[in-house]
């Protein structure tokens, strides 16, 4: 695959990522902007061919009710541009099963899992930890980088920091799932935990089941 230009995180958060207009005979990955960097890294590391990546704005993380329609529009648009195969690289992400219904209707495959931090961790492991980590607020590399924009500002805490405990009062820790070994990101994640008044735990997950899914998409 030709090297895809990776926009700034702020662009991935607010606008997403569009590929070239011609998708004829290509396999398109429709993903959350929060996964762009990781997907491109997996493609590069594994030398995968024939995959095109397009992303919806990561800001939809805060408006899950809008995700399904946005993915539907993207699927229809991709088909009109000739895409031969489409994969949806979104967890359920709070759509309450609507995204799965859409994928069934459109006959496209979605990566399994309720949240991106579930497939980074591994779905079985994540489910096993659910009870013990009921008070965990998860950050990925992307969320650590975009914490101020997506979470602090996105939830209005920049304007109303006094609302912090209404949002996070029942949480007890930030679990930072590190996809990469980057001390600067760890520092950001620690700062985020401090800002939220929560304990900090770092877990090195790598790309987890995201890598499995992207490799599968390339092989179909």
């Amino acid at each position: 695959m030709a090297e895809t230009f990776l926009p700034l995180d702020s662009v991935l958060t607010e606008e997403g990522l569009c590929a070239s207009s011609d998708l004829k005979d290509k396999t398109l990955l429709i993903a959350c902007g929060a996964l762009a960097r990781e997907i491109l890294a997996i493609i590069k590391i594994n030398g995968l061919q024939g995959l095109i990546l397009e992303c919806l704005p990561a800001l939809l993380h805060n408006r899950p009710d809008k995700i399904t329609d946005a993915v539907r529009t993207k699927i229809h648009d991709a088909r009109s541009r000739g895409a031969s195969k489409i994969f949806v690289v979104y967890a359920d992400c709070g759509t309450g099963g609507h995204l799965d219904t859409l994928c069934m209707e459109e006959e496209v495959e979605r990566i399994e899992g309720p949240h991106c931090y579930a497939f980074f961790d591994g779905l079985d492991v994540f489910a096993e930890r659910a009870e013990e980590e009921i008070g965990a607020f998860y950050l990925t590399d992307f969320l650590a980088r975009q914490f101020d924009t997506l979470i602090w500002k996105g939830m209005g805490l920049d304007r109303h920091p006094d609302l912090r405990d209404m949002y996070f009062g029942n949480y007890d820790r930030v679990v930072y799932q590190a996809q990469t070994d980057d001390p600067a990101l760890e520092k950001k994640a620690r700062a985020a935990a401090e800002k939220l008044g929560l304990d900090f735990v770092k877990r090195e997950t790598g790309y987890g089941e995201l890598a499995t899914f992207i490799n599968k998409a390339a092989s179909v």
């Binding site: 899950p64 009710d65 359920d92 709070g94 759509t95 309450g96 099963g97 609507h98 309720p114 489910a127 659910a130 009870e131 009921i134 008070g135 939830m155 209005g156 805490l157 304007r159 109303h160 609302l163 209404m166 949002y167 029942n170 949480y171």
Partner: protein, 235 residues
């Protein structure tokens, strides 16, 4: 809501103007102004129930409409809720003393595995504002908590809330247990939470899915009216 810059002296406003101003202040999440407004109306010998319904509940109803329409967002709703909660802090003991129409009793809590209680807290507050007695079980409730509470409290309504796709199926566990114990029909079961929808509510056997706190109040009132009607008809 209000762009006026000059200071408004609440105590100098007529009752009608003050109530209108309190609606604006609720909308803007101004807790101190709401506390002052509540006290002024009480000093003017408004009943606590009248203050609650006309100044606070009506103000929050407007907030709820604008939230539903995408004009207000969660932070603004939370600020408004904080302001209303402060006002209710003054009114609740007075309501208990002076009496107010009772709509019914609700037990509410977030389901096992779910700690997200913002929606549940809003519903609790609005239900109380509408005259329901609310027993709030808090977060992360296993089925036993719900069953014990609805029986012990002789509740009319059970409310369950979930924010996560992974926890919302637990609502069915609770409803199935109610069926197994033969008590399902004794209660109105209302469910809510961001990932839910009407279809899900029906599929798990709830009486209704409520998309927000205002809908929860209206739905609860309708069911209570039906129950009263049915009880009258059968007696």
């Amino acid at each position: 809501m209000s762009d006026e810059e000059e200071d408004i002296i609440l105590s100098e406003l007529s009752d009608e103007e003050l109530v209108q101003q309190m609606h604006d202040d609720l909308y803007d999440g101004l807790k101190d102004e709401i506390l002052e407004g509540v006290n002024i109306l009480l000093e003017r010998e408004w009943t606590p129930y009248k203050v609650l319904t006309e100044a606070l509940v009506e103000g929050m109803r407007i907030v709820g409409i604008d939230f539903r329409d995408g004009i207000l967002f969660v932070p603004e709703v939370l600020l408004a809720a904080n302001a209303m909660k402060a006002g209710m802090g003054i009114l609740k003991p007075l309501l208990a003393e002076t009496g107010a129409p009772k709509q019914g009793k609700m037990v509410i809590g977030t389901v096992k595995g779910d700690i997200h209680d913002i929606g549940k807290n809003l519903v609790s507050m609005m239900m109380e504002g509408a005259g329901f007695e609310v027993v709030d079980l808090g977060i992360n409730n296993p089925v036993e908590n719900y069953i014990e509470a609805i029986e012990k409290e002789d509740a009319d309504i059970l409310g369950m809330s979930a924010l996560l796709t992974t926890t919302m199926p637990y609502m069915k566990v609770v409803i199935d247990e109610m069926k197994a114990k033969g008590i399902r029909e004794n209660y109105v079961v209302l469910v809510g939470g961001a990932p839910l929808n009407e279809e899900f509510g029906k599929a798990i056997g709830a009486d209704a899915y409520c998309r927000d706190a205002a809908v929860a109040v209206e739905t609860a009132k309708e069911y209570m009216a039906q129950r009263t009607h049915n009880q009258s008809a059968s007696s």
